[in-house]
């Protein structure tokens, strides 16, 4: 008999769902904040709110298909607001959504420590996929900056704790 190994309690593998309004409005508000706030506060562009929302939906729903689709849609919307080819963020966030929902089944994602790690690790994953796709398929000449990526990953990990705590209010037990 094959038993899946998880590192979660019964309570931790609870699956959540969201209202249609929250499903539409939360990503939209995240994208809106992402494009508006950096105009006034330039440093805010190191944060990736759509990424954090993708992660939150993925780990809360714990469905790989739902996670990757959410990531794809949010990523494509984000792509549309840049001047670069559509699909760079779409592909990166599809991978992140799939990965986060897969991980959400196996580990506890309710405590701040794991949320910090999720934000930190998946920011690296996101940037790595984006970098590879942009350079090899998109033909863009990007330069990988380790220090900047580390700082941004840490900042997103910390912000993930706050954002996840706020978005927890909109979760409904499935």
């Amino acid at each position: 008999m094959n038993v899946a190994v998880t590192y979660t309690s019964r309570e931790e593998i609870e699956v959540y769902k969201f209202s249609a309004l929250a499903t539409v409005l939360i990503p939209l508000l995240a994208i809106l904040a992402q494009v508006f706030v950096p105009v006034r506060l330039r440093f805010f562009s190191v944060f990736d709110l759509p990424l954090l929302v993708t992660l939150f939906f993925a780990v809360a729903r714990r469905s790989q298909v739902s996670g990757l689709m959410t990531g794809a849609v949010i990523g494509l919307l984000q792509d549309a607001l840049t001047h670069q080819p559509l699909g760079l963020y779409g592909i990166a966030k599809t991978v992140v959504g799939y990965g986060a929902s897969s991980l959400g089944v196996k580990i506890d994602v309710e405590n701040p420590g794991s949320r910090l790690l999720i934000g930190f690790v998946f920011y690296w994953v996101h940037q790595a996929v984006y970098f590879l796709v942009a350079r090899n398929i998109g033909g863009l000449s990007l330069e990988w900056r380790w220090l900047h990526a580390f700082g941004a990953a840490l900042a997103n990990g910390l912000l993930a704790i706050v954002v996840f705590a706020i978005l927890d209010r909109y979760k409904q037990r499935a």
């Binding site: 105009v39 330039r42 559509l86 592909i91 599809t94």
Partner: protein, 392 residues
């Protein structure tokens, strides 16, 4: 096969979704859209997002204005704002005029040299960005309906900001000069070395293609060269902050942009640039009709024209602005057409000739164009000389 797909359903969907996006991406890269055109999804998303951004900006601005207006003295604040705007305009004018003066000195000998002058601008408010570090894009609240078109230059009082990339009906996408796909023709103010201003992935701006054997000092100002046909020549770009040897025998010149790209709220879009020939120094001010006549007459042939030409000139003379004026003391010519005839005979006939001659005729070519008199300065007619009658 079905069992395999069912067992790996999620992975299959992941691969399918990634495959579709990669194919779409490859198609876009292989066949880029023309300048000005864009994908429908991009148009929809921007059209949906920018009204929200505009609402957020105007709401926040409204709250901020109410708050500050109650705190500050209203009149002083309004006056201060007006003065600041005036200073901003004057700074732009000052830079342009200085550049014009330098240019005039260097190119004094060249005839028919044309300079570009900003003729019309549209003020716009920055309402958003791309939200991505890899895409340095701004959104402004003026679009095609306001006369904005792709490839128009966007400036701020400090210096250049970027160029319009795409336009929508009520908004436009502006590519900042710090974006890695941006390129601006640049020239160093003192050394007159030309290069290309490029952005980078990190948002730094550098001037490229300056040979490494050239000497460039940190602190030197960098201006637009006009070579890109987007930015008029002479607009401030920034200052050199560091110079180091780069790749392929070129210098790596780091530039600090003059415009604070991280705190842009309002910008100007240059909607019209006119090519203008510079005025030479001796025709700088308006000339009086008498002075023009004095310059012209010594070169005029003294031979009288045939009779037919005299009568042909008559209708034009009678329509001149001074034709209706009473002639104070000068003897009346036999026919109106004799005014021209008199003028061509020599200085002794100036009085009678100039009285009924329209300014348009007076300023007709003598080898170089003469500007019309300023509206506030009336055309001064030469005094009539009673002892010199009109020729018959």
């Amino acid at each position: 096969m079905e069992n395999v797909l069912a067992r790996y359903r999620n992975t299959t969907i992941l691969v399918a979704v990634l495959f579709v996006q990669i194919i779409g991406l490859a198609v876009q890269v292989k066949k880029p859209t023309d300048a000005g055109s864009m994908l429908l999804i991009r148009y929809w998303v921007v059209s949906a997002i920018t009204p929200l951004e505009r609402a957020v900006v105007s709401t926040s601005r409204g709250f901020r204005n109410v708050w500050t207006s109650y705190l500050d003295l209203r009149d002083v604040r309004a006056e201060n704002r007006a003065l600041k705007e005036q200073i901003d305009h004057m700074r732009i004018d000052e830079v342009r005029l200085k550049q014009d003066a330098d240019q005039a000195r260097r190119l004094q000998a060249l005839l028919a040299f044309k300079e570009q002058v900003i003729s019309e601008t549209v003020a716009a408010q920055v309402i958003g960005s791309s939200g991505s570090e890899q895409s340095r894009i701004l959104y402004i609240d003026k679009g095609a309906n306001d006369g904005i078109q792709p490839d128009m230059a966007v400036i701020s009082p400090g210096g250049i900001v970027g160029k319009v990339l795409h336009t929508f009906r009520h908004s436009s996408q502006v590519l900042e000069i710090s974006d890695q796909s941006s390129g601006v023709g640049a020239i160093l103010e003192k050394s007159r070395l030309q290069g290309i201003l490029k952005g980078s992935a990190g948002g730094e701006v550098s001037m490229q293609y300056v040979m490494s054997d050239e000497k460039v000092e940190p602190g030197e100002r960098v201006l637009t060269s006009g070579g890109d046909r987007i930015f008029p020549k002479g607009l401030p770009i920034g200052n050199v902050t560091a110079v180091s040897p780069g790749r392929d025998l070129f210098l790596n010149i780091r530039i600090k942009p003059a415009a604070d790209l991280s705190r842009l709220e309002e910008v100007l879009v240059i909607t019209r640039i006119v090519d203008r020939e510079p005025e030479s120094a001796d025709t700088g001010g308006p000339m009086r009709a008498a002075d023009i006549l004095a310059q012209r007459l010594p070169t005029v042939e003294k031979k009288a024209p045939p009779e037919g030409e005299k009568t042909a000139a008559t209708p034009a003379l009678s329509t001149g602005p001074s034709a209706a004026k009473p002639k104070p003391e000068a003897p009346k010519p036999a026919t109106p057409g004799t005014a021209t005839q008199g003028a061509e005979r020599g200085s002794s006939t100036r009085a009678a000739g100039s009285e009924s001659r329209p300014l348009a005729d007076v300023t007709k070519p003598t080898g170089r164009p003469a500007p019309p008199p300023a509206p506030s300065q009336p055309v001064v007619q030469p005094p009539a000389q009673p002892d010199q009658g009109a020729p018959q």
